[in-house]
């Protein structure tokens, strides 16, 4: 069976007024039906990775190097019809702000049906019934009526369900979810997470779930990849990451979650702020904020250590630990 | 044959019910075309000033015993466009329409236009079917001139249309050579010949006469040059070369119009000094002004145009003579060290005003040569009319010592009497300058009491001679009523009058 996703040495740069080295040598692989959480702070390149996968970045201002294949399809070579078929058909996406990602002047039924018609070439009536079916599957109450609602007539949680219904309507092999629950209440968030989990099993698709909340990652994913400054600094199963995070950044994030920090105790905060990506990093980007940093860290890019199969850490210390 | 389309300067089709509005243009196009008056102007000749001729009245006379009693014999066999006969009853009915507010047919709109034209009339009555008697308030030999204003509309038509002038306006009926066929307010009026017109020589040759209001001079010029009209009134001087270049014909002729400064004669006005008045009249190079007006002007030699039958032989020769003018000024006590300051009312535009601003600036420069410094008070035309009514002594004129006005000067009253009559001193009348002179008053009285036309003309000449010899106005120029015609228009004779005859015209 082909791998669902294989990203190799993806380097992505925005040019224009300011140059942004958004992704630097990112490699990522997923097997069919896996759920991967992409974890990282704001600006670390999570959304860019997803958009690159769908070819949604402004072509003129984006320079991409490397390789991306999804289900054996070379994404970077796609264009025209093939690209349209791939988008939404093979890979689809759920956005962070459903209020902005849905067209305000079309009913949600129309918006789902439109996508179905395009990919499945079915009649409008058939597409509408698919849409209805999808709304049912994402547990929208009285879906029949909701079909004819406009996005603004729904609550945030409902909109996100619609977004999911829309993304899944054409049975993609890979679902990209860009912080789909950040804007939602905790009670609604957990509903959506469970729904996604369920649908993922049912449809057997792969999911990349972007978040900056470790708790959410734990709830949704089997595997976690941690991003920092356009690089993947650590990857492993969720359990590995939670139980034995190797990278100081991942450790910092775990601590900052405050899950079982004693009340009033001093927090082990990561000092400082993430680097600007105006220059291509030639040393460990996290070193300036790292409590363990030493001279070696600034000498060059940290080595990728593989402590276990499909587990990796990009840190000098991890290497040392592994060596010890 | 053919249709003649005329671009008028008026903004609207003149009032169609009889007594017209829109000034001279109204009478010209909607008055003497659709209607007749008892006494009319002879419009057949271009060479001589037009005179009064019988219209609907064939004959008139004043009772030698009682000089207030006039008898008018009406023309026989005249019918209105609606077929009803014209008779004495009609005349009385028409006069009531203007003068008797209680009468059924009283029409305030026509009255506003006509009433003031016949101030002399005291009463009138039917003598027989074709004879009318009119009694004046006092002996007034100018009555025929006054009656030439009054147009006769059909009583039968008015009755047929429910006695509603509103209805009559849409389907008027007169005795004139043209019948109004259709009429769109502010856009166009179409007239066709009246085949049964009493004067066969004046039955129109054209099939149709179309009037189109085009108040904007350039719109008129463009309309003529793009072939949308065949005739425009008052082409802008600067467009004339272009029109002539394109084969259009410019027609013009002297007519009773003048462009003057009406001088203030109230206490303290410098114009009370005849030397200053004469000097000013001599300081202006009227020929030099011609290029500005495209040559379309007659330099003033007096108050009336030189060709007028009433011009006479004044001694004072109005011409350009700077030396004499300076001498007169010196005599009056002015000189390079002692300038005379005067304030003059002018308006930037106005009916018949020609090109008031440049012309006045020209005067200003000319008068500066003889040490008269003119300060202008520029007011809007309607405001100017108000100031003109108010008179030179009114505070609202702010001490202005002259007003630049253009006058319709067709008959004894409008031409001479109204400007200087002691009884008409503003605001009671139109004697703006408060001039009052027993000698002049005597002349006016003689005009009114001289019933023989030839003798009356002589008195008129005498009066005008006094106008000129006393240099009572700053007399500048006369308009020549220019109009531009398509070369297709044939047979038009431009009379020396405000009114014109369209019957002789044909289209090629």
């Amino acid at each position: 069976m082909t791998r669902l996703l294989d990203i190799r040495n993806l380097t992505l740069r925005f040019t224009g007024k300011r140059t942004v080295h958004a992704l630097n040598n990112v490699s990522l692989a997923m097997e069919q039906g896996e759920t991967l959480a992409l974890l990282g702070e704001s600006g670390s390149g999570k959304s860019v990775t997803l958009k690159a996968l769908l070819g949604l970045l402004p072509p003129k201002r984006t320079q991409i190097e490397g390789q991306m294949t999804v289900n054996g399809i070379d994404v970077l070579s796609l264009s025209g019809r093939a690209l349209q078929k791939y988008r939404g058909g093979e890979v689809s996406m759920v956005f962070q702000e459903p209020a902005l990602a849905l067209d305000p002047v079309y009913t949600i039924g129309h918006q789902i049906a439109e996508s179905v018609m395009r990919h499945k070439g079915v009649s409008r009536a058939e597409a509408m019934s698919t849409a209805l079916d999808m709304l049912d599957r994402v547990r929208i109450p009285s879906a029949n009526r909701r079909l004819h609602n406009y996005p603004h007539e729904l609550s945030g949680g409902m909109r996100q369900r619609v977004m999911i219904a829309l993304a899944l309507a054409c049975r993609p092999r890979l679902l990209l979810a860009d912080e789909p629950t950040t804007a939602l209440d905790a009670t609604v968030q957990i509903q959506i997470l469970l729904l996604l989990r369920e649908l993922q099993k049912e449809f057997g698709m792969g999911v990349i779930f972007v978040t900056h909340d470790i708790g959410v990652a734990v709830e949704i994913s089997e595997r976690v990849a941690v991003m920092y400054a356009g690089q993947i600094v650590e990857e492993g199963t969720t359990r590995e990451i939670i139980k034995e995070a190797r990278h100081p950044y991942t450790q910092g994030l775990l601590a900052a979650n405050l899950h079982d920090v004693a009340r009033g105790a001093r927090l082990n905060a990561i000092p400082g702020a993430p680097p600007s990506l105006e220059v291509k990093p030639d040393a460990c980007s996290f070193a300036p904020r790292c409590p363990l940093a030493h001279a070696d860290c600034l000498k060059g890019l940290p080595p990728m250590v593989h402590p276990a199969p499909r587990r990796r850490v990009a840190c000098v210390c991890a290497e040392r630990m592994a060596a010890e | 044959e053919g249709t003649l389309r005329i671009g008028m300067t008026a903004a609207d089709i003149p009032l169609t019910t009889g007594q017209t509005d829109q000034g001279g243009e109204g009478m010209r196009f909607m008055g003497y075309t659709v209607y007749d008056s008892l006494i009319e102007w002879d419009l057949t000749s271009a060479d001589k000033p037009s005179m009064l001729i019988p219209g609907l009245a064939t004959d008139w006379s004043v009772d030698p015993e009682d000089q207030t009693k006039w008898t008018f014999t009406l023309r026989e066999g005249v019918t209105f466009h609606d077929g009803s006969p014209f008779n004495a009853e009609n005349v009385v009915w028409n006069l009531d329409k203007l003068l008797v507010e209680g009468s059924e047919q009283y029409d305030p709109r026509q009255a506003a236009q006509g009433k003031s034209r016949i101030p002399a009339i005291a009463s009138y009555s039917v003598v027989d079917d074709l004879t009318v008697e009119i009694v004046t308030k006092e002996p007034d030999a100018t009555l025929p001139y006054q009656l030439a204003w009054i147009l006769m509309s059909s009583k039968a038509n008015w009755e047929a249309l429910g006695k509603d002038w509103e209805q009559v306006a849409m389907a008027p009926s007169g005795t004139g050579p043209w019948k109004l066929e259709t009429f769109v307010p502010r856009e166009r009026a179409e007239m066709v010949p009246f085949a049964d017109y009493w004067d066969e020589s004046r039955i129109p040759q054209l099939d149709k006469l179309v009037l189109i209001p085009l108040p904007e001079p350039n719109a008129r010029a463009a309309a003529l040059m793009s072939g949308q009209v065949d005739w425009i009134e008052a082409p802008a001087p600067d467009t004339i070369p272009a029109m002539e270049g394109n084969g259009f014909v410019i027609s013009s002729n002297a007519y009773p119009h003048n462009w003057t400064w009406h001088l203030s004669r109230v206490e303290g006005s410098p114009w009370n000094d005849i030397r200053v008045r004469k000097a000013a009249n001599l300081a202006i190079d009227r020929e030099g002004m011609a290029p500005l007006l495209g040559g379309l002007m007659v330099p003033a030699k007096g108050f009336l145009p030189p060709s007028s039958q009433w011009f006479g032989e004044p001694e004072f020769d109005i011409s350009y003579d700077l030396e004499t003018a300076k001498a007169l000024m010196t005599e009056a006590g002015f000189g390079p060290e002692n300038h005379l300051q005067v304030k003059a009312l002018i308006s930037p535009s106005g009916s018949g005003q020609m090109l008031p601003l440049p012309m006045n600036e020209f005067l200003q420069q000319s008068l500066a040569e003889i040490w008269i410094d003119v300060e202008f008070m520029v007011v809007e035309w309607n405001q100017m009319i108000n100031l003109w009514r108010a008179g030179a002594a009114d505070p609202s004129v702010e001490g202005a010592m002259s007003i630049n006005f253009t006058y319709f000067i067709q008959d004894p009253f409008t031409g001479l009497i109204r400007h200087l009559d002691c009884n008409l001193i503003a605001p009671n009348g139109t004697n703006w300058g408060h001039y009052c002179d027993p000698e002049m008053q005597d002349l006016f009285a003689r005009i009114k009491t001289t019933f023989d036309p030839a003798e009356q003309d002589a008195v008129m000449r005498e009066t005008h001679e006094k106008y000129v010899d006393d240099a009572l106005f700053l007399m500048v120029t006369h308009d020549v009523a220019p109009r531009a015609l398509s070369p297709k228009v044939k047979g038009f004779v431009q009379a020396q009058n405000w009114y014109q005859n369209f019957s002789s015209i044909t289209m090629e």
Binding site: E41, S42, P141, S155, G156, G157, M158, D185, A186, T187, V188, Q189, I190, Q191, L193, L194, H212, D213, I214, G215, V216, V218, E219, T237, T238, R239, I242, G252, L253, A255, A256, N257, L258, H259, V261, R263, G264, R266, L267, N268, A269, I270, P271, A273 | -
Partner: protein, 349 residues
């Protein structure tokens, strides 16, 4: 001049036993205009009869779903919107009686969620921080502002003359905190002050807040929807639902026992942080009801699995749990006299 010296709060009037703030029966209904004539056709019952008190030096955490009235409560508390009803007593003085709004505002300050929107984009950081002190006529507002900036970890020489858009989110939130402190307040209301920050930065700011509280003897009202954060920083937690208080209790007490079904659901909605023991069923279905027409009786009854007829008809009153006078809740399950079939028995385990 050190910061602490210049940090001259108004003196304590009521003594340590007098709660710093007492709120009684606070109510705010926002009118909704509609209909043909644009009349008021309905009210958003944003805050409906909220009562609580905050002791001097403690931190009260307020949690609840979006739209439950947390921010409205905060804004009422510092008089940014006018209350419809209720009483606010600050250090023994009732607002509007012995205490003027202007005086209250010296003692109470607020930090908002949106760090960008809460800074005037046209003012430099220094001007923003110094503004309040200038308005209140405090001495040397600029020096004060500079030392406060230094205190919240922003080098005044580097940041004083920058504009908000030249700062990161965490830095801006520090500025907001400095601005609030510039007035030497006694109570600081933090409305989701850390929610928009990245986790790593959030921890920095929380550390700062803890330090400042100790240093200046501040009292906090800390609004958040992140229970972990609230637990970390608060002494007591107040849970709101649709404009009403459903539970108030000391942190440890509520962490052990969530007396109200809603509180329990809210706690169960927290991610588990244990990959082997993930949440199985969502603790609560659907979205909160519309605050324009809130359900009758107990407002939670439409989503409560223990709801009975009485919950629909009668509104429960806030009362202490047996044996825990500090732990108040408004639920028929805990009110022996409510008439609920499980009255007085609490939530089944």
């Amino acid at each position: 001049m050190s910061v602490t010296e210049s940090f001259a709060q108004t003196p304590d009037k009521g003594g340590p036993a007098q709660p710093l703030v007492i709120v009684r029966d606070l109510q705010k209904h926002f009118p909704i205009r509609g209909g043909i004539l644009g009349r008021t056709t309905a009210h958003v019952q944003a805050v409906d009869g909220v009562s609580f008190s905050v002791r001097k030096g403690e931190t009260l955490g307020i949690v609840g779903e979006s739209g439950c009235g947390k921010s409205t409560t905060a804004r009422l508390l510092i008089g940014l919107i006018e209350k419809d009803k209720g009483e606010i007593i600050f250090d023994g003085q009732a607002l509007g009686e012995s205490l003027s709004l202007r005086d209250l505002r010296r003692d109470v300050q607020m930090v908002f969620q949106d760090s960008y929107a809460s800074l005037n984009p046209r003012l430099t950081i220094l001007d923003s921080v110094a503004f309040g002190a200038r308005v209140q006529g405090l001495d040397e507002p600029e020096d004060r502002a500079r030392s406060l900036m230094a205190r919240v970890g922003l080098d005044p020489d580097r940041f004083a003359h920058r504009y908000p858009h030249e700062l990161s989110g965490g830095q801006r939130q520090r500025v907001n905190i400095a601005r609030a402190l510039a007035m030497s307040p006694r109570l600081v209301v933090l409305d989701e002050a850390v929610s928009a920050l990245d986790k790593s930065v959030e921890a920095q700011v929380l550390n700062l807040l803890t330090d400042l509280r100790r240093e200046y003897g501040l009292t906090y009202i800390f609004i958040s929807h992140d229970l972990n954060v609230v637990r970390y920083i608060s002494d007591r937690i107040l849970v709101m639902y649709l404009g009403e208080v459903v539970e108030v209790a000391p942190v440890d007490s509520i962490w052990q026992q969530q007396a109200h079904p809603y509180t329990r659901s809210l706690f169960s909605a927290m991610p588990s942080m244990d990959p082997d023991n993930r949440t199985k069923v969502p603790p609560l279905a659907g979205d909160p009801p519309n605050p324009i027409n809130p359900p009758s009786g107990c407002r939670f009854h439409t989503r409560c699995r223990y709801a009975e007829a009485v919950c629909k008809s009668a509104a429960p009153r806030l009362g202490a749990l047996p044996g825990a006078p500090d732990h108040l809740t408004a639920c028929h399950l805990h009110d022996a006299a409510s008439g609920h079939s499980r009255a007085g028995m609490g939530i089944p385990a």
